[in-house]
Structures are given as C-alpha cells and as structure tokens.
C-alpha cells in the first residue's frame, strides 16, 4: 500500500509533467520527493527554505499569474503558521491552490505537540471558499488532488500515516455508504474508517465514509438519518470539528449527535501515533468504548 505522502508526491510530479500551469512550492519539507518534477520543469518547483509564510505567499504569486500552485509541509507548518497568508493571499484574493499537509493530527508523536495539528481542519473551515479534504488511503490522495488542483479554490488536503485497509472511489463532497443498518448513522472521516468499521461491527448501524468535510454531502446524510435521527461522527482531528457541518445538515430536524475525535488538550506524551490513538481512545477498542 502506498503511503499518503508518497502518493501525494507521485501525483504532484505527474501533474507538473502533465499541466504546465502546475507549480510546487515547498518550505524544505519533502524537498527530495519532487526530483521528477524538478527535472521536467525546474522553474515550477520552488523551495523557499524554512519559511512557511513565504511558501504560501509565493504560491499565491503563482496563482495571481494563472498557475495552480501546490504548497506542502507538515500540517502545523502549513495550516497554522502561515494561516493569514492562506486566509488573505488566497481566500480574500479569490485565488485557488492546493495545500497538502502531512502528519495530522499527531503522526510524528515523538516530536511532541509542536508537530501536532488537530486544529487544522477547524482553522481551514473558518476561511470562506476553502475546501477541506481528508483522504484515508494513498490512492484517494491521488483522486482528490487530481479532482481539485485546478478548481480555482483553496483546497486543504490532510494526509496522515494512518490509512484504511482499502481505498474507495471518493470525490469531493460525496459520502460513501460502506455498511447499511437500521440504527444510528456513523460518519467516519478519512483514516478513521477501518477502525470505525471494526468498532461498530456489533451494531446495527449505517456506516458512511467521508473524505470531504467541506463541501459535505448534506443531502445524503439527511436522507440516511431520516428514519433514525442519531448521528455519530468519528473524526481524526479535534472532536467537534465537524459539528458546524453536521448542525447545518439538519437545520430543522432534531437529531442526536455525538463526536468522537481528538480530545481538546495538549498532548505531552510521545511514542508513535498508534500509542497516542490508544491513549486518546481513538483506536478501534477506544472508539467502541466511547460509542
């Protein structure tokens, strides 16, 4: 199975070769992964050094000239440090570009909370026009990036080390029904799907898969929850991040909602992302216990 970061690099290299309006802007992170793009079009692959505000500003400069820029770094240094550049240089200016973050929420657990970003999706949601996508498999990174890189909107694609067991034919703004049941509807975002399926195997629940937080398929979820107005969200970022999206899905229907995600506290322990999943109740056993 391809890791998401490698899948992203492969697709980005492909896009540079296939579309002369694609530019990659880096801030040192992953700089060796784009050799193919550099060989093909060295003027469209720029490493600005460890300078994330410039990375996003430079990417916006490319967008002002009609390019489809792709900026990439670890999630905290892409979504948080240059947040105002994404908000103003892209959002306010009406420009489009791809922001591909790796490492969310705490993949690099040994590095500590400076390298965590469970708040990234909330931040991105707060910027009008931004799409927030969360693939759960390397092949889905490829599909989502190809589907959105030239869409004229800022698009945040959140990749992680954690992946699902298999990929799905995903698209922005679409829910996939993975398992039908007559009870609650469980919405699993991105890399939470496989563990959610395992955690809910004993339940008569519908399990749907979302790789798109914004746009979100509100019509489909409304239809699924019509009979049993009980929605459980399993999310890979701060729990409750999807709450505004779910709330706006049911503007005039009482629905019971629960959110299972990363607790809103700083993490002061280390190990691997799997260790933190266990600590925070986000492995299959933890999710089952929190249902």
């Amino acid at each position: 199975m391809r890791a998401m970061r490698e899948a992203f690099a492969e697709t980005a290299n492909d896009l540079v070769e296939a579309d002369d309006r694609v530019a990659i802007v880096l801030a040192d992170i992953s700089r060796t992964m784009f050799a193919r793009a550099v060989r093909h079009a060295p003027l469209r692959v720029i490493n600005v050094g460890i300078a994330e505000q410039s990375m996003v500003g430079v990417a916006a400069g490319f967008a002002m000239e009609g390019f489809h820029p792709i900026a990439h770094s670890l999630s905290p240094f892409l979504a948080e440090r240059p947040y105002e550049q994404i908000k103003l240089d892209f959002g306010y200016q009406g420009l489009g570009g791809s922001f591909v973050g790796s490492g969310g929420s705490y993949d690099y657990a040994g590095e500590g909370a400076t390298h965590h970003s469970p708040g990234d999706a909330s931040l991105m949601l707060a910027i009008p026009r931004v799409q927030v996508l969360v693939p759960g498999h390397g092949d889905e990174v490829d599909r989502l990036l190809r589907a959105t890189y030239a869409n004229g909107q800022p698009t945040y694609i959140r990749t992680s080390l954690a992946t699902n067991d298999e990929s799905h034919v995903v698209a922005p703004g679409r829910l996939e029904v993975i398992r039908h049941g007559s009870g609650a509807t469980v919405v699993a975002f991105g890399p939470m799907l496989s563990r959610t399926l395992e955690a809910t195997v004993h339940l008569d629940a519908t399990v749907v898969y979302a790789t798109s937080l914004e746009p979100f398929d509100r019509v489909a979820l409304r239809a699924l929850a019509r009979e049993t107005p009980d929605v459980i969200v399993v999310e890979p970022w701060y729990e409750g991040t999807a709450a505004p999206v779910i709330a706006s899905t049911f503007p005039d229907t009482p629905v019971r909602t629960r959110f299972i995600g990363v607790p809103r506290r700083f993490i002061h322990s280390y190990g691997t992302w799997r260790d933190l999943d266990t600590e925070l109740g986000l492995d299959a056993a933890g999710i089952r216990a929190r249902l």
């Binding site: 003027l43 500003g57 430079v58 400069g61 820029p69 105002e84």
Partner: protein
C-alpha cells in the same frame, strides 16, 4: 507644492476628493511622488487593459494610505475620477486598503502588513516560468511595515533566486517606532542593489527605479524625512 509648476497638481486635486482616511495621511502623501514616477515613467501598464499579460506588475504591499495610488490610477484612466468621491463609502469600490477584486489596476489585495514581498517574489517566479522575461515586478513597502518578520523571509529569498525582474521600493518616511536601516548596510549583504534617494525628487526616483539587472534585484529607498510627508 501645489503651485502651477507642480507636475502633480492635478493628482493632488484628485487625491483631495478621497477624504476620510486622515489617519493614514502621512502614508498617503509620502508615497505620492514615487507612485507618480512609477505610473508616469516606469510601469508599462495599459489602463484600458490593466490585466494584459505583457504588463509590468505593481504591488502596494503596505496597503495603507492608498488614496495617492487611487488618485494616480484615476488620473491615468484606470477608472473614472468620480470613483474617488465615494472613497470609503458603502457604494464605492475604494477602501482604505485596496481590493484587487473591486479596483481596476490593483494587482493585490493588501492591508495586513508583510504580505506583498512574498507575493511579488511569487509573481516574479511565475513570470520567469512563463518565459515573460521582459516584465518587471515592483513592490512597495513602508519602513514601519518592515517590522513584520514575514518580509524578511522574502527579502532573503529574492536575491538567492536571482530575481532581476524584481524591484523593491521602500517608502522610508521614518514612521517606524523602531529605527530602520541604514539601508545599504542592511540590504546589500542579502544581495540587493540598494539605491537611497530623495523621496520627493522625481528625476532621482526615476533613475533609481529604471535600474534593472539581469539577476540582481534592486531596492530603491525613497527617503522622506519626518515632517516632509
């Protein structure tokens, strides 16, 4: 100033129509001469086609005090002068920080300080990638704006990337609460070709702003002593 021999007298008349941003008056007036030189003598931009591919690009990084820029754009025919009468008004297009989606001739939406340098570097790189080697990119910052650290990432970057298309115009009206400069000692080691000139001398400004090298970016500091805004 304001005499019949003043080449900018018609611009000053236009600028007087854009009222309500007096808190940025020093920023507005201290930029006027350099902006006039840019639009009258340096930049190749057709007001009838302000987004033409072969234009030079100008980015007002500081965003503050844009009434002088608006007046010049109106004088040059980018939009009708009566737009100046609705400056800051709800039914107007001209805010106290410019919006590229509303104002013809405005290249970038700015106002939060420290964004324009990186945008300009990106535009210069994009022009290079498109093979548009003749076009120039000129970015204007204030001296106080340069307190923002984000500028310095891009200031360091531009010479390393050999962006000869890039010119950085600093309006040094000594408004920074931190002492800034001396500019040559500060910027030359980064790799910039630094020119410090009288910010009210149109000919000296023109000579400095006309400087362009193949690979080395140029910094033009328009010095405006306090009280001569």
């Amino acid at each position: 100033m304001g005499t019949s021999t003043d080449p900018l007298s018609h611009v000053r008349v236009l600028m007087a129509r854009a009222t309500g941003d007096e808190k940025h008056e020093e920023s507005t007036t201290s930029s006027l001469d350099a902006l006039w030189v840019l639009y009258d003598r340096i930049l190749r931009i057709d007001p009838a086609h302000p987004m033409a591919e072969d234009r030079d690009r100008f980015i007002l990084s500081k965003g503050h005090g844009p009434a002088s820029l608006y007046a010049i754009l109106a004088a040059k025919g980018f939009f009708p002068p009566d737009r100046l009468d609705s400056f800051l008004e709800h039914d107007g297009i001209l805010g106290s920080h410019p919006d590229r989606l509303r104002v013809p001739g405005i290249e970038a939406s700015t106002g939060s300080l420290g964004h324009g340098m990186a945008l300009a570097v990106g535009v210069a790189l994009a022009l290079r990638a498109k093979g548009q080697t003749d076009q120039r990119v000129i970015v204007l910052t204030g001296d106080a704006e340069l307190n923002e650290g984000s500028n310095w990432e891009a200031v360091m970057l531009a010479p390393i990337l050999r962006l000869g298309a890039l010119t950085w115009l600093i309006i040094d009206n000594h408004s920074s609460s931190l002492p800034m400069g001396p500019w040559d000692a500060w910027l030359a080691p980064f790799g910039w070709d630094v020119h410090v000139v009288d910010g009210h001398d149109l000919d000296l400004l023109e000579a400095a702003l006309a400087t362009r090298h193949e690979e080395q970016p140029v910094a033009v500091v328009a010095d405006i002593p306090r009280g001569e805004w």
